[in-house]
Symmetry: C2
Subunit: 217 residues, 2 copies
Amino acid sequence: MEHTNNTLTVNETTYRALREKILFGEMLPGRAFTLRGLAETLGVSPTPVRETVRRLTAERALSLKDNRRVSIPDMTAKRFQEIRHARLILEPELATLAMINIDSKIINKLIDIDKKTDTALFEGDLEGYMRGNYDFHFTIYRLAHNKVLLSLVESLWLQFGPYMRLVYNRLGTDSLDDQHRVATKALEDNDCIGFKNAIMEDLQQGMTFIGASKTLL
Amino acid sequence: MEHTNNTLTVNETTYRALREKILFGEMLPGRAFTLRGLAETLGVSPTPVRETVRRLTAERALSLKDNRRVSIPDMTAKRFQEIRHARLILEPELATLAMINIDSKIINKLIDIDKKTDTALFEGDLEGYMRGNYDFHFTIYRLAHNKVLLSLVESLWLQFGPYMRLVYNRLGTDSLDDQHRVATKALEDNDCIGFKNAIMEDLQQGMTFIGASKTLL
DNA sequence: AGCCACAAAATGTGATCACAAAATATGGTT
DNA sequence: AACCATATTTTGTGATCACATTTTGTGGCT
């Protein structure tokens, strides 16, 4: 499917770079970006940037405002609840599907990711925390071996990602406690219901935390 | 969000044209398309076509093969089941959400769409049938007023669309009977469970029908 | 200062260009 | 005829160009 050639196209590099910026909060809502500006930042011509922006717009990660500028789509309380709703439908499902493919080796990997995530949280390294949290969830989700559901969930993360950072910036990260450990514990006990519940709890907790910042939504 | 100007950009026209082709089976799997070829067909330069292809690739409606040609993504039995699974999770949910916004006027509209769909089916007008079926479902889904879920479901329809046509071409359309009437009946009775079940039955029936053609998957 | 008309700069869009890589066509050899 | 090396054409990619539209900057007026 993808280019087997190991040299990535400029297009692909640009896409990944922008995607990361969005997902881990380097690209905040409100600001208006220009294609030429992004192109210069990334050191490429406007062409691959335009294509990347179209691509990310299709994934609902970016929007083209009528004043022909690129930005993170506006969040409303309603849209936020829609994303939360969709996540609650899809992610526990994906987690459950993944479970049969999770062995002790994977569990250790997850515990390791979680430790690093906690460290980042403790040290106030926000980006590290967000990356760790992403890794934890998608290490699980990828093991469901279900590309269709996975790509739907990826789109959802791209949609709330920028707001996660924004809120954490304001409220700090202290009040977050960690459902990941509950999840790994359930995996060790092969407790399917417990695992699914932990994922749901984690999700609910995170979204409630973001949603608490009424001023933004 | 979109251009308020009523003159659509070439980009948007191109996107809509290609999207329709995919959704209603004018673009069949297996064939390899070139950007310049598509551009000439649509009477535009390669530029907007490239951007459209990126966009539709992000929606999983097209794929860029490693021989750098555009095509409908290959279908496998596994992927087909994944799509079916995702549809069964999301579409009944969307239908249920829509129900409170469906009044008698909408019900009549749905009955009307269904009649036209039946006529098309009877006359062997395959594209008419597919368009009618799409209209029926998305007239309902849009009334859920949930853009997040809606865009996820749209991506799913783009993924199985091309194969629907392909199979109908081979097996004919005779064996399809109509769950849409069951659905509208349930709406008239304000029977929530019955409506949800009818949507699920319709979906299952359609997907089973496509999936029956083992040779394709 | 605040406001408005107007000029200058910047932007998105679509087409085109240049080039390397891939696909296809060609022709000679067995 | 079947095969393979080579030449030709086609293709995707990234950059650039041209232009209409929008944004931004400027200076005069109240």
